[in-house]
């Protein structure tokens, strides 16, 4: 089966800012693909291009084999609004019905509300919903038109653990063998819970496109830091910098690094080892990719 959505060498510029830099990506039927990256990495821009909201500066975005800006290409596309943007005076069921009017064969309102646990608040205005209920409604709206491709931008940001898990279940149940989900997140945990495939974006570029397990290894970095005047060449160091007299080393395997350090006989003190945050891991990955190209 052909890909449901494709980005082919897509770049997008906003004024001086290059939000996407020659990104290529296929979303195939049957997949849940996670787009992972820190804020400003280009995740939302990529979704906007695939949803037809924006035009690529160069390259091509395709949806079901055509231009996403052509409304007829979006008949089997589901998108979530930001929950802050729900019309506050419309009732929950009205929001669903409004969206349903745009599709040929929508899911019946009651069935949809039931699936997302919103039946009890069907008659309530969205302005009076809790954050979690708004988020669930926003995600539910993406599924109204029986989509084959669903784009979810940060589907569970700001939800508590129980609400997050409930929503994950609803998303996981969805894709059959001819449909797919593309979701963004800046939590690896969220992507690991939902997606089989992870695309890591950093500074507008694809840094990795792989299984959850390999990406986890890639981004599960540790920061080993110590006071030292000089340190020998060590293997497994992804990045190295000096700050306030401390040497900071980023590595995937801190155990091996420490062993090498000790056996080298180099003088050091105040050794500290921390798990690097995802942001730090991204920064390291981004700069590593850049320097390897130079």
């Amino acid at each position: 089966m052909p890909p449901l959505a494709r980005a082919i060498d897509v770049s997008r510029r906003y004024g001086d800012v290059l939000a996407l830099d020659r990104v290529s990506l296929d979303v195939n039927p049957g997949e849940i693909v996670g787009l992972l990256g820190p804020n400003g990495a280009g995740k939302s821009t990529l979704l906007n291009l695939l949803a037809g909201l924006r035009r690529p500066t160069s390259g091509k975005a395709e949806l079901f084999g055509g231009d996403p800006r052509d409304p007829s290409r979006r008949r089997r596309l589901g998108v979530t609004p930001q929950e802050t943007g729900l019309p506050s005076t419309l009732r929950v069921a009205e929001c669903v019905q409004f969206v349903a009017k745009h599709f040929a064969d929508p899911v019946p309102t009651k069935e949809l509300l039931d699936r997302f646990g919103l039946c009890e608040v069907a008659g309530r205005q969205t302005g009076g919903l809790s954050g979690g209920q708004k988020r669930r409604l926003a995600v539910a709206l993406a599924f109204v038109g029986r989509p084959r491709l669903v784009l979810l931008d940060e589907p569970t940001t700001g939800l508590d653990v129980t609400a997050r898990r409930a929503l994950w279940d609803a998303i996981r149940e969805f894709p059959g063998k001819d449909s797919a989900v593309l979701l963004t997140s800046h939590y690896l945990e969220e992507i690991a819970a939902l997606a089989g495939r992870v695309v890591v974006l950093g500074s507008g570029r694809v840094l990795a496109d792989d299984t959850v397990a390999s990406v986890r290894d890639l981004v599960a970095l540790r920061r080993v830091s110590m006071l030292a005047a000089e340190i020998p060449q060590l293997s497994g160091v992804v990045a190295q910098q000096r700050q306030d007299g401390r040497v900071e080393l980023m590595t995937a395997d801190s155990d091996s690094l420490v062993r090498q350090l000790v056996s080298s006989g180099a003088a050091f003190s105040e050794l500290e080892i921390h798990a690097a945050s995802l942001e730090e891991a991204f920064l390291t990955l981004t700069s590593a990719t850049k320097s390897s190209e130079q």
Binding site: N48, L53, P81, G85, L90, E94
Partner: protein
């Protein structure tokens, strides 16, 4: 077509559930009738008819400025707008629905004026006169619709509110809507034909009363319509380019 109606219907629901919007739309024009027109000219059939026409134009211009000006600029700031853009419909139904909804509010804004006129004044009009009046009003509402759209697409919502508030009263007063035809204070009469409110009022006065519309005022109304159509198109395209290109 059914999608246009859908968009109009839900936009109408969104607005009508905000009590202030309804009061602003329906209460103030009717209140102006009760406090100014009824005591002053209520028992003079011809004068009351002209004054009712003036108040209908006042209600219409105000409703357009606020409904489109503030409605559009607020919607532009909401993430709901881009979400609706991703539905398989294009931008036409939302825009057409907005015009339909705005026209609905326009009618809501002057209906109470007509009710007060019928109940509390000697104002009269025959059925053909009323039909002609509706036609005159729909034509005369176009420049105000365009003015509201321009404000809405050009300005952020706080600025749009301020500009609408700055404009609506000078337009009404300067257009001579607060006085009988030709009886406005000295400095108003010379400028009033150049304001679109006067042109629309001339059309409406002539539809329901014994009067020939002032040529200058009606030509200026045409000129306003053309100029505002150009400006509103520019504002719309600029907004499209900023948010969706």
């Amino acid at each position: 077509m059914s999608l246009v109606l859908t968009h109009a219907r839900y936009q109408f629901l969104e607005t009508i559930r905000i009590p202030v919007a309804v009061i602003g739309t329906m209460f103030f024009p009717a209140a102006s009738m009760i406090f100014f027109v009824v005591p002053a000219v209520g028992d003079n059939a011809a004068a009351a008819t002209f004054a009712t026409g003036s108040m209908v134009v006042f209600a219409t211009s105000t409703s357009c400025l606020f409904n489109y000006g503030i409605g559009v600029s607020e919607d532009r700031a909401q993430p709901w707008d881009p979400f609706v853009r991703t539905l398989p419909a294009g931008s036409f139904p939302r825009f057409a629905g907005r015009i339909l909804n705005g026209t609905g509010f326009l009618v809501l804004s002057f209906l109470p004026v007509l009710v007060v006129a019928a109940v509390a004044t000697e104002a009269t009009a025959t059925a053909p006169q009323i039909l002609l009046g509706i036609g005159a009003l729909l034509a005369g509402a176009v420049p105000f619709t365009l003015m509201g759209l321009t404000i809405g697409y050009l300005l952020p919502s706080k600025a749009a509110l301020a500009v609408a508030q700055l404009l609506f009263f000078p337009l009404a007063f300067g257009g001579g809507l607060m006085s009988a035809p030709g009886r406005a204070p000295g400095w108003v009469e010379p400028i009033s034909p150049y304001l679109p409110t006067r042109g629309t009022a001339e059309l409406l006065w002539s539809a329901v009363g014994d009067r020939t519309p002032d040529t200058l005022a009606v030509s200026m109304l045409g000129a306003w319509t053309v100029v505002l159509a150009v400006v509103a198109t520019f504002a719309y395209r600029r907004d499209e380019g900023r948010r969706y290109s």
